[in-house]
């Protein structure tokens, strides 16, 4: 898999990103600006794409310049209206948006999509990395509803994304893991949001559909 060949290079790049990110932040000690780790930023940006872009595009989010309290109120309002975020996920999104889109941030920022594309994957994980996992279908149902249903439909019958129930990709584990971990086109990458066990649980549940 593409991912594995990059092993130590990734770690180094991550360290660099972390270091550079940290210095920039200390230099610009904005009142509202909290430092954010690259891994957290990556997870948050993935969440914004997967959970926020359901009702409106991310440009509406990226054009705001708000302090933490207003981001908190805004994200809470979105959750109240149906954005699928657990309290922990909401906290990560608020932290990311406050760090990136605070009142002192530059007028021109890259889109959240473009920013995510430049971020290094946050943690090394792949299907093959530590041997086979046994997914638990009962746990997968809720994980699917929370993360995938908005696009793949209730019962995985398809919607904005393809039908996954009885999809051939379920038998091709390499392709399944590759797509889910790293994303493909409009399909978000989940490697920074879900751990291997959770993905295996979703896979197990999907095979029961």
């Amino acid at each position: 898999m593409r991912w594995l060949q990059r092993g130590s290079g990734v770690v180094l790049a991550l360290l660099l990103v972390a270091l550079v990110g940290w210095t920039v932040i200390t230099a610009a000690q904005e009142e509202d600006r909290a430092a954010i780790e690259p891994a957290t930023a990556r997870k948050a940006a993935t969440l914004v794409l997967a959970r926020c872009a359901v009702c409106h595009t991310t440009d509406l989010i990226a054009q705001q310049r708000l302090p933490q309290d207003r981001w908190t109120v805004t994200v809470e309002k979105m959750v109240h209206w149906g954005a699928e975020l657990s309290p922990e996920e909401a906290a990560v999104v608020i932290q990311y948006l406050t760090a990136r889109n605070h009142p002192g941030a530059p007028d021109q920022l890259p889109s959240i999509e473009a920013e995510l594309a430049t971020m290094e994957p946050a943690r090394a994980q792949s299907a093959a990395s530590d041997g086979p996992l046994t997914g638990i279908a009962a746990r997968g149902a809720a994980l699917f509803a929370h993360n995938c249903q908005a696009c793949h439909g209730e019962g995985a019958v398809g919607g904005a994304g393809p039908k996954l129930a009885r999809n051939a990709v379920l038998k091709n584990e390499g392709a399944f893991w590759e797509t889910v971990l790293h994303g493909r086109g409009p399909m978000p990458a989940w490697g920074a949001v879900l751990n291997r066990q959770e993905i295996a649980d979703i896979h197990a549940w999907l095979t029961t559909r």
């Binding site: 009702c55 209206w81 393809p162 994303g183």
Partner: protein, 394 residues
Amino acid sequence: MVTVSRRGWFTTLLKGIGAGMVLGGGGSMRESAPQAEAAEATGPLTVRVTRPFDAETPVREFTSWLTSNERFFVRSHFGPPPAEAIQPEAWRLSVKGLVKESLSFTLKDLQQFEPVSLTAVLQCSGNGRAHHRPKVPGVQWERGAVGNAQWTGVRLRDVLQQAGVKPQGVHVQFQGADRPALATVPLFTRSIPLAKALHPDTLLAYEMNGRPLPLLHGAPLRVITPGWMAESCMKWLTEITVRVDETPGYYMQQAYRIPETAVRLSSGLPGSAMVPVEQMPVKSLIAAPAEGDTVRIGPVTIQGVAWAGEAPVVKVEVSCDDGKTWEQARLLGEGQPYAWRQWQFVWNARTPGPTAILCRATDAQGQEQPATSPWNPGGFLWNGWDRLTVTVEA
């Protein structure tokens, strides 16, 4: 509660992802037809939100009296409804609530009432939100969420009179056919006081600049409340309900409200009672030259537009030295109620270098455009002096 059909839901979702994730690397999802149409039909607008599509008009377009349908700013909360919902065979306008007789109209039925045309400014309440400090959440409109168009339709009053408003009915509620992506989001439902609804100039419009109302502007029918901000001008109108009270719900009770003090152009700080946004405050814009232009030493024609809610504009002043001195501009043509007034000023540019050009208007009630608008939490009703920078070249 209104539920959204699964199909409509997915279509809307698809639209969003198709448009919003282009950068993701061109997956299998395409922009849906209405979205693509929107992009083609709107020409060079400045897009603020891809989906639902929100875009403003570049101010250079305001050198013309009427703003064309293709260049007119676009704003909605959820994007246009599915085409099926507004096809002539399917579309109906229902009038109900506190009326003697509930009625249902096709577009042809409505066109039996006396047609009325008027030219009126339509402006989003959030126009200029980007200028408020501290910054406020919402679509970051700059100067162009406004336009001047000729609207043709029938009087809302005539329609209400046919149904017969009961004495308890004092608010008139509007509902359009547009629906949010998820049914958990509140519907965009608004009401206006009966007095405004019965005003002879309040229209149900089916034409814009002599052409059938375009999809993005509310086809087949929208409300026009001349002199009032655009959130009262419900698009894709399907239901009129006469009520005893103001419409409950987010878009009437929380959004589009300002502190009472901001209406009177004083402090504008929250803490006072919040009242619905209604009338447009007096405002003017410079349409030419454009921000950053270089002009030659000698006579330079500065032109623009000015408007106010229900009172005519009586004066526009221009400053070419960053607000130190002001001179009166010439108002062009005849004043028409609700339309904007074009103005012109010939400036004799003498000193080379950069300079700021400003304009401000005054209406017949003596309200003068302030240097900056009172801050309010929703960032509504910005009408600070318009301002741009040009460089004079020898």
